[in-house]
């Protein structure tokens, strides 16, 4: 009995020692692995500061009133796998329309020369953020909601080219602000002792659903011609690449563009568009992409306040991507009014 007890005790002690040795070995091994991983995969210089992406309303960067967000892939491979974008709500649309309405008269009242300079400043700001915009486009795509995967992995060269064309497009419209009257106005040689003329004028607040792709160039091509004519804009970036859109709004914010002239909201078109289409302070709608029944309903809702609705199809979308596409009066004129003035001539 005593002998067997001793044997058991010794065996137990041996077992414990082995366990200790094992644990020590594991510790060493883990430490070595961590060490190796730190030294190979990243430097330990500093912890990066990740950007919180926000909507752009009234010249301020804001979260959605609803407090909701959705997930989008991060801009760089070293960034977190996903970033959270605020998901706009009906109230956000209403807030944006209000500030757009309040900003419209003074934007339209600026001299065309001044508007042109501000759009040129926008191009300058985009130029200085070229790499950020291109890098963001390079990881274009979206996840977090099923069935809505965006296009993946735009090549770096493609992304750089898209940014360049987008910048050049801003320069193009910058120079158009003070040409609109020369191109569209008229003196009317009426039969009678009157002097008459017709001038293009801004329409008001224009609601935009921006094209899915090309995402940055699409948004720029949809928004910039509309503000060229003195309108203000509420743009819904519903699919495509809201993160790159958010980076573009940072260019807007630093470009001397008055707050409220361009407002950008991210979210779902089927949730947001009906509220924009029904809003009586929205005078025009510019709808890009295949919105199906949603687009038809927006036209029907828009009729309640006789909105000017322009739907752009695939032909326009493919035009956007070309260097001299989506340029010209055809993108400005649908969102202008014509005012005719008469005055008698005589002594």
């Amino acid at each position: 009995m005593a002998r067997s007890k001793v044997v058991k005790k010794v065996a137990k002690q041996a077992e414990a020692k082995l366990k200790q040795a094992d644990a020590a070995f594991v510790r060493v091994k883990v430490a070595a692995e961590v060490e190796q991983s730190l030294s190979t995969s990243r430097t330990i210089e500093r912890v990066t500061v990740n950007k919180a992406y926000k909507m752009y309303i009234g010249g301020a960067f804001v979260r959605s009133e609803s407090g909701r967000s959705f997930r989008v892939k991060g801009p760089k491979s070293t960034d977190p796998e996903v970033v959270n974008m605020p998901r706009g709500s009906r109230k956000d649309i209403r807030d944006a329309v209000l500030v757009a309405k309040n900003a419209q008269a003074s934007w339209a009242a600026r001299t065309p020369f001044n508007r042109g300079q501000i759009l040129y400043r926008l191009a300058e700001m985009m130029e200085s953020r070229r790499s950020e915009l291109a890098m963001s486009l390079g990881r274009e795509g979206r996840e977090g909601r099923e069935g809505r995967e965006g296009r993946e992995g735009q090549g770096a060269a493609d992304a750089a080219r898209e940014v360049q064309v987008a910048i050049d497009r801003c320069v193009y419209y910058s120079g158009m602000c003070d040409k609109l009257s020369a191109l569209l106005a008229s003196h009317n040689p009426v039969s009678g002792p009157h002097f008459g003329f017709t001038l293009p004028e801004s329409l008001g607040v224009v609601g935009i659903v921006s094209p899915t792709s090309p995402s940055l160039l699409g948004l720029v091509s949809a928004v910039v011609p509309v503000i060229t004519g003195g309108n203000t804009v509420v743009a819904i970036v519903a699919s495509g690449d809201p993160r790159t859109a958010a980076i573009w709004t940072e260019c807007l914010a630093t470009s001397d563009l008055p707050g409220g002239v361009v407002n950008v909201i991210y979210g779902q078109a089927d949730e947001l568009l009906p509220h924009m289409a029904k809003h009586r302070e929205v005078s025009g709608l510019s709808l890009w992409g295949d919105l199906g029944a949603l687009g038809v309903q927006a036209e029907i809702d828009g009729a309640d306040s006789v909105k000017r609705v322009r739907r752009y199809g695939d032909a326009d979308r493919s035009l956007i991507a070309t260097e001299d596409g989506a340029r010209g009066l055809g993108y400005v004129e649908p969102f202008l009014e014509f005012k005719t003035v008469w005055h008698p001539m005589g002594m």
């Binding site: 009317n188 017709t198 309903q297 036209e299 029907i300 306040s305 006789v306 014509f338 008469w342």
Partner: protein
């Protein structure tokens, strides 16, 4: 017994602008002036014996006069006598379908292949033929619609002719109109026009559509189809290719069939905002191009420094022209408070000189209301104005027993929120509001869902340009009102519609810019 009436303007004649403030203040307190109802005028009727209105009009489809498949007809009456003028075919869906097919055929086979210069010559031909028959058209316009012959003769007809002549010249110059951009016609245009300027609206619609290379199916209003049908006869005489212009008559149902027809490429509508919205909903989701010229509630703004006697003439013309059946009528008078009593006094005096009666009398200023339905609508809104506490002044003139009539009326003490300040009355009824500063005038003028036209009266040039730039309206008349010309783009802001008619800008409605 009868003293020679002396008008306010005669009393201060030669001293205009030299009245002291006190004199101006007292001017409106002077005794009332006795006007024309003290004696009778000899009648001066326009002749009606040099032409004949047909007993029955069929549909003009594919260059032929075709009986309606529905076999149903309606009558068109003279609103001044309620006498039946003619029977008019009522087009149903299948008739509309036939008309659109005829227009499509004419477009594909002929009109779109024609040399632009030949298109141009056809339009010049129409203009010339219309000049030759102008008086006949003017008389029928007054008989069918109730407007004074003075207006149909001197405004409607010359303008309609000018529209054909003007657009004829564009037909072969479209490449110049949109510099650097190629244009092509849209195809078949469906056009629906109102009853207030029946022939003129037909000209506004048909002339630019044909000039730009489209073919047309036009539906005139059911109360005033005659001059459009006479225009079809004239187009036949001008030997236009069959199917280039088709006229289908009927009411709202016929119009709906036309708008909803799948083979129509373009819809152009002039009429009420309510129907315009319905049409916009109907074409939603289709590739049909749309232009709308809808209602209005124009502000006619008179500043204290305005030439008042001229302003009074402009106010009168602005609201009583064509019995106020004008979408751009100056139906809201905004007067600077300091001159309101004087201006209103002058206005009432001038209103007393208006002669209401037989549209075919050359001395008539205000004719008959277009229809019983419209008269009911005017009466309803006027009653609402009285209920809401506005003060009514109507000219006390004898009105004919038969027919539809409403005396020229002005309301004062109108609040901005009352129905007569917000809704389109489309009759000889003026609502007056006052303001103290230019900003207040702009605020009140723009406080409307409409934005078709506006008037500004002041002697200060810089003020005119300031006001003109701030008013949200498609046409601004400064020191004048209700002027039209084919070279001058016309159309609305806001719920007054979109698209322009007339001028180079008006061509956009009928071409696709490539």
């Amino acid at each position: 017994m009868l003293t020679k009436p002396q008008t306010t303007s005669q009393r201060i004649d030669g001293r205009m602008g030299k009245l002291s403030k006190i004199e101006k203040k007292r001017e409106h307190e002077k005794p009332a002036i006795v006007f024309g109802n003290q004696w009778d005028y000899a009648p001066a009727p326009e002749a009606t014996d040099f032409f004949k209105i047909g007993k029955r009009y069929e549909l003009f489809i594919g260059g032929k006069w075709q009986k309606p498949r529905s076999k149903s007809y309606f009558t068109t009456i003279s609103p001044s006598s309620e006498a039946v003028l003619a029977e008019i075919a009522e087009a149903d869906d299948s008739d509309v379908d036939a008309a659109v097919m005829a227009a499509r055929h004419a477009y594909d086979r002929y009109w779109s292949r024609l040399l632009p210069s030949d298109r141009s010559k056809y339009l010049f031909r129409i203009a010339r033929a219309l000049q030759e028959k102008a008086r006949q058209f003017a008389v029928v316009e007054s008989m069918d619609g109730g407007k004074p012959i003075k207006e149909s003769r001197d405004v409607d007809l010359p303008l309609a002719i000018a529209h054909f002549f003007y657009h004829a010249g564009w037909a072969d110059k479209l490449d110049l109109a949109f510099q650097g951009r190629a244009v092509r016609p849209l195809g078949v245009a469906a056009q629906i026009i109102p009853w207030n300027f029946p022939l003129l609206m037909a000209a506004w619609k048909i002339a630019p559509a044909l000039a730009c290379g489209n073919t047309v199916v036009l539906k005139p209003a059911e109360t005033t189809p005659l001059t459009a049908l006479m225009l079809a006869e004239l187009i036949e005489e001008c030997d236009l290719p069959p199917g280039v212009v088709n006229i289908v008559t009927g009411a709202g149902k016929t119009g709906a069939a036309l708008v909803n027809h799948p083979d129509v490429n373009k819809v152009a509508f002039t009429g009420s905002t309510e129907v315009g919205k319905r049409i916009q909903r109907a074409v939603a989701g289709t590739s049909k191009r749309l232009t709308l010229e809808l209602g209005g509630k124009a502000a006619n703004i008179v500043f204290a420094d305005a030439p008042l006697d001229q302003a009074v003439e402009g106010i009168i013309g602005g609201i009583f022209f064509n019995q106020g059946h004008v979408c751009c009528a100056g139906s809201r008078l905004l007067v600077e408070e300091s001159i309101a009593p004087l201006l209103l006094r002058k206005l009432r005096d001038r209103m007393a000189t208006l002669r209401v009666g037989d549209p075919l009398d050359k001395n008539t200023d205000v004719g008959a209301i277009n229809s019983q339905m419209q008269l009911d609508k005017i009466r309803e809104l006027v009653a609402a104005g009285e209920r809401e506490g506005a003060e009514r002044f109507s000219v006390s003139c004898p009105l004919p027993k038969k027919g539809f009539w409403f005396p020229p009326t002005v309301f004062t003490n109108v609040s901005l929120s009352s129905r007569i300040a917000r809704e389109e009355i489309f009759g000889p009824v003026l609502s007056t509001l006052t303001f103290r500063t230019p900003d207040e005038a702009i605020e009140k003028a723009n406080n409307s869902v409409y934005g078709l036209s506006a008037g500004v009266w002041t002697d200060k040039g810089s003020k005119i340009f300031h006001m003109a730039s701030k008013l949200r309206a498609g046409v601004v008349w400064a020191n004048t009102f209700n002027k039209f010309d084919p070279t001058s783009p016309f159309g609305g802001y806001k719920e007054s519609g979109f698209g322009r008619e007339g001028g180079r800008q008006g061509l956009s409605a009928y071409v696709e810019v490539v």
